[in-house]
């Protein structure tokens, strides 16, 4: 039997000092506070922000850019002139890393955010309307899942799609292709989650209040799968970065003259022994990037989830007590 009468004493205590103060604390503030309590997550966020800033301003600290060849330093290890050494073509590795990081972050963020957003709206819409709408949308989704993504990427970026490649930079093309193929799994998961949410009384309550459908989807369904969405955004960003690296590595992703971490890593694999800096530097940056995202992941989920057990001391006690009560009754 669920214990409806259990009240969190910590919350009451927390409330005591709010008493009298007639302030309405925004939910965003609450979420922000909870996130800031998680030290690992904050560290992850700091690393990620540092990398992002680095990718934009890092270029001003060197006179070299990603195209200029230094004929006097070809394949040289790090030195005062070239902070991270040069490639075999004599291009400054530091400049290339900055550029590559920017492209990778850009691809990751855009693909991660947009694909999850598409998945959320698509999945929730399917669940909300159900019936025929659900059937048709599910068919489109299944059809996309069955499409061989790798081949389409290969065709779009190298063989076919000449026109596209002429008009768009290769990173934008890759973003579009990754976007098309990255949202389906999440959408299906969200559909099933939302379907169970649809049975909950608060959705019915909103319907009976006459709240329009799109508002119910946006205000009730999407936030309630929020922790999953946040997890999926960070995972999606990581996934997109890795996909970019992988595609670029096998040569069907980003094309020279555009640089990305994947291009750098891919180009250097054959000479790890002879030119180790060319391999390790972009790899480290990639690890930092994906690692910081993973660190943030946890903190974000806890911050968004009201029933989460690890977001701050107040919340922690509720969960424990609930568990004890659960055992007790």
């Amino acid at each position: 039997m669920t214990n409806l009468n259990a009240v969190d004493p910590a919350a009451v205590a927390q409330d005591a000092h709010l008493e009298g103060a007639d302030v309405v604390i925004g939910k965003n503030t609450i979420i922000f506070r909870r996130f800031m309590r998680n030290k690992t997550a904050v560290a992850g966020l700091a690393i990620f922000l540092a990398l992002t800033v680095f990718s934009f301003v890092g270029g001003y600290f060197t006179q070299w850019d990603k195209q200029t060849i230094d004929p006097f330093n070809i394949g040289m290890p790090p030195s005062a002139e070239h902070y991270l050494g040069t490639s075999q073509a004599g291009i400054d590795l530091y400049a290339m890393t900055v550029e590559g990081t920017r492209i990778s972050i850009l691809i990751g963020l855009i693909v991660g955010l947009v694909s999850v957003l598409v998945a959320a709206v698509y999945g929730c819409t399917m669940a909300y309307f159900g019936g025929k709408v659900d059937k048709v949308m599910l068919f489109i989704l299944e059809a996309l899942i069955m499409m061989p993504a790798l081949l389409v990427v290969a065709v779009a970026t190298s063989g076919g799609g000449e026109g596209l490649r002429r008009d768009l930079p290769s990173w934008l093309l890759l973003i579009i292709v990754l976007l098309v193929f990255s949202w389906m799994g999440t959408a299906r998961l969200i559909r099933s989650l939302s379907m169970s949410l649809m049975q909950r009384d608060f959705v019915k309550a909103a319907q009976y209040m006459g709240v329009p459908a799109r508002r119910i989807v946006w205000r009730h369904l999407v936030p309630n799968i929020g922790s999953l969405l946040v997890l999926d955004i960070t995972r999606g960003v990581t996934g997109a970065i890795l996909a970019e690296v992988a595609f670029s590595f096998i040569g069907i992703g980003i094309k020279v003259p555009d640089v990305s971490l994947g291009v750098l890593i891919g180009g250097a694999t054959s000479q790890v022994q002879t030119f180790p800096w060319m391999f390790w530097v972009p790899l480290t940056v990639m690890f930092l990037l994906t690692g910081s995202l993973a660190m943030m992941n946890d903190g974000l989920r806890d911050a968004f989830d009201p029933s989460s057990s690890s977001s701050g001391s107040a919340k922690k006690r509720t969960a424990l007590k609930a568990r004890v009560k659960g055992n007790a009754s």
């Binding site: 409806l4 009384d201 019915k204 009976y208 009730h220 936030p223 424990l320 004890v324």
Partner: protein, 745 residues
């Protein structure tokens, strides 16, 4: 002795063993189960939760002990500790003696000797306590095999059939091969009882055995428990939150609060002469189905204490209206009170309390609110909701590929009623009678519905555009059964309440003002608007739900079992609030509830539904005091009343079986299959019931009708659908427990 117990072994670890020894000596020799100073602690990272703190009782053979209390008071933990079913993290101290043998401290394997043999248990949820993959026969035989390895297969089967017959399952031999999903909830609970009594246990522990069941089924199951006790002579420990359920069954009562027994005694002493404010509050919080008098219920404010901290004073003091400074100095021990010997209460003021003290004075129950509509005759008030011949039929199909229609489920079948301003109209009936579907039909408000729904003058037939619909939505709001599920866990209270207002197009400043107003209206602190719903207790959550429904100033509020998920003490507060709001704001309610006592307390008019049809409708006091339809009579008779005398002597109608399957509904009267009148009718009259559908007819003010009012009013507000309302009841369906002075009418 009890003063030592109250101190607890934490403070006096040395004396505990000694004390137990003395306690053991003091236990009556003939007690079948003796519990002494039982303490249960759960170690959590937060500290030690002291869930049960010093429980003692003796259970005599063949007697029944009722343990009552709110959720979280340690009732279930006590029973699980006796059974040795608590997780190993729980620390249990004290002594549990079954026939003089100590049970605490036995290994799990040693306990298995007793469990299911001498000690048996019936659990709350019958839907999950049977294994779905084995037949019920298998499961009964399993219980027999474990404790009687030498029993032959035939003997075991014969015993299983005998057991099923004993718990009242028709054609037990065939049903032995049936799987749990082929049984209804009530039937499964009967099977659970059969398994529990399989080995003639000496002690049967029933943990809320009927909470999950309908009232008519509850009456059946309680009857079965009674029979089982008579057959086996077992002592029964009955754990429940419903004071009505134990009133008729128990010999002794133990009231628990915050893990401690706060009052123990014989059932009559507890009910008629409570000496502890908590017991008084519990009794005053329950509405009575048999009393027409309108008085507010007694709410017990606040909530049970957190058991992580050892209470320094009386644990009930923070909620007690009588609390004085002396109450905060040490926890009062369970001490004998003046009067019968066995009656003990843990209250320093128990001497001044008793049967002659009115609980309404003690707990300061609010005055009965008077609505401005009360003075206006019903006919002159305007109609807020009208249903005309509303139907909802679901096709029943079979086959995966080619769906063929094999029948129709008539969830709602030709429903007509109206609700006037300032009135509370209730719909009652068993689950499956179409109450909820009726609500959904009203909330749906769509042009294509079968039948007409008129809300505040707007008919569903004209509601084509969104504008009319949203106008209708402002007239009608809903409060849900489960207060937890009805509030978006991600919304703060502010957002929950702001949603309907924003939807109505209110600006931000007004919204904030209105929300503060609403919070005060439903008795919540306005500065709690920043909290999330999980930071509130159940009663408070339901108040938020009510506040949300009232946000747009509706005329009619639809209440779907608004208090069934709440504890009695909290329930009383919510009912009082609903009463107050109806009077102050001139609201009308459409209430759906299975608890007829709540219905009687709050409603003005009531409709009894059976299989999608109204079988009786009318003014609540008229219908409840003078029910005409046999189904209404059966429903009312199934409600246990928190009055031991009445409960022991009154005669009750125990309906046979469950609601019939929608396919098996008779052509004539729906109720014929279970009707106690029908069963007693001669064949010629039975024919009429089976072929003709009884229309809903006005109660004629004839001498036969036992109306209380002597003057023959032209039209009584009571209609019913039965051909033979005055027919004799079938003797088999009537049960009287003890030899009563009055007999069948």
């Amino acid at each position: 002795m009890s003063s030592e117990i109250a101190a607890g072994p934490v403070d006096q670890p040395q004396s505990a063993v000694e004390r137990l020894h003395i306690a053991g000596l003091h236990a009556p020799a003939d007690a079948i189960l003796s519990v002494r100073d039982m303490n249960v602690r759960f170690n959590t990272e937060n500290g030690v939760v002291h869930a049960v703190r010093g429980v003692d009782f003796d259970l005599m053979p063949g007697k029944t002990l009722g343990i009552v209390g709110e959720s979280g008071s340690g009732k279930s933990v006590t029973s699980l500790a006796i059974m040795g079913l608590l997780p190993s993290t729980a620390e249990v101290t004290g002594s549990v003696r079954l026939k003089g043998k100590e049970l605490l401290g036995l290994s799990d394997k040693a306990m298995c000797e007793y469990r299911g043999n001498e000690l048996a248990m019936v659990f709350q949820d019958p839907l999950s306590s049977l294994t779905p993959v084995y037949t019920v026969g298998n499961q009964i035989i399993e219980a027999l095999t474990i404790h009687n390895p030498t029993m032959s297969k035939q003997a075991k089967e014969a015993r299983a059939v005998e057991l099923l017959a004993m718990v009242g399952i028709p054609s037990p031999k065939e049903r032995l091969r049936a799987f749990p999903h082929e049984f209804s909830g009530g039937m499964r609970q009967r099977v659970m009882i059969a398994i529990a009594i399989a080995n003639n246990p000496r002690v049967l522990i029933a943990d809320e055995p009927t909470t999950a069941l309908d009232v008519t089924i509850q009456a059946q199951v309680l009857e079965v428990l009674h029979t089982a006790q008579e057959e086996t002579g077992a002592a029964v420990v009955m754990i429940t939150h419903d004071l009505g359920v134990v009133a008729g069954m128990a010999d002794d009562i133990m009231v628990m609060y915050a893990g401690r027994p706060v009052e123990t005694g014989a059932v009559d002493d507890i009910y008629y002469n409570p000496r502890m404010p908590y017991t008084m509050g519990l009794l005053g919080a329950v509405p009575r189905v048999d009393v027409a008098e309108k008085s507010s219920l007694v709410p017990i404010e606040g909530m049970p204490p957190n058991l992580i901290h050892t209470p320094t004073g009386c644990s009930f003091a923070p909620r007690c209206p009588l609390a004085a400074d002396a109450c905060l100095e040490g926890e009062p021990a369970l001490a004998p009170v003046p009067g019968p010997a066995a009656h003990r209460a843990a209250c320093i003021k128990s001497g001044s309390l008793g049967g002659d003290v009115d609980v309404h004075d003690v707990f300061a129950a609010p005055p009965v609110p008077v609505s401005r509509f009360d003075a206006i005759p019903r006919e002159e008030r305007s109609t807020v909701l009208q249903l005309k011949d509303v139907r909802k039929h679901f096709p029943l199909t079979k086959g995966a590929l080619l769906k063929r229609r094999i029948g129709t489920v008539k969830a709602v079948d030709g429903l007509s009623f109206d609700i006037r301003e300032g009135e509370c109209f209730s719909i009652v009936g068993e689950s499956g009678s179409g109450k909820t579907t009726t609500l959904l039909e009203i909330m749906e408000f769509h042009k294509d519905q079968d039948g007409e729904v008129v809300i505040g003058g707007i008919s569903n037939k004209q509601a084509a555009d969104g504008k009319t619909r949203s106008a209708m939505r402002r007239e009608l709001q809903m409060v849900f059964q489960d207060p937890t599920g009805a509030l978006d866990p991600r919304f703060t209270v502010y957002e929950v309440l702001a949603e309907p207002l924003q939807n109505a197009g209110m600006n931000k400043v007004d919204t904030k003002k209105r929300i503060m107003e609403l919070m005060k209206l439903v008795g919540l602190q306005p500065d709690h608007v920043n909290r999330f719903p999980n930071q509130f207790s159940g009663g408070q959550r339901q108040r938020i739900g009510i506040a949300r429904a009232l946000a747009v100033n509706p005329k009619l509020v639809v209440l779907d079992e608004p208090v069934s998920a709440l504890d009695v003490s909290v329930q009383a507060g919510v009912i009082n609030l609903l009463d107050k709001l109806r009077a102050e704001l001139g609201l009308s309610y459409l209430l759906v509830a299975h608890d007829l006592s709540v219905v009687r307390h709050i409603s003005n008019r009531v409709a009894v539904m059976y299989l999608g049809k109204i079988v009786e409708i009318g003014e609540v006091d008229r219908v409840f005091d003078n029910p005409r339809h046999p189904y209404t009579r059966a429903l009312l008779s199934a409600i246990p009343v928190p009055d031991p005398q009445l409960e022991r002597t009154r005669e009750r109608i125990i309906l046979r079986g469950d609601l019939p399957s929608p396919l098996g509904t008779p052509k004539g009267c729906n109720f014929a299959t279970r009707c106690p009148v029908f069963a007693a009718l001669p064949a010629a009259k039975q024919e009429k019931c089976l072929t003709l559908e009884p229309p809903l007819e006005q109660v004629a003010p004839s001498p036969a009708a036992r109306t209380l009012a002597a003057d023959p009013l032209p039209a009584l507000d009571q209609r019913f659908a039965c051909f033979f309302p005055d027919g004799e009841l079938d003797e088999d369906m009537l049960v009287v427990h003890e030899s009563a002075d009055h007999h069948a009418p």
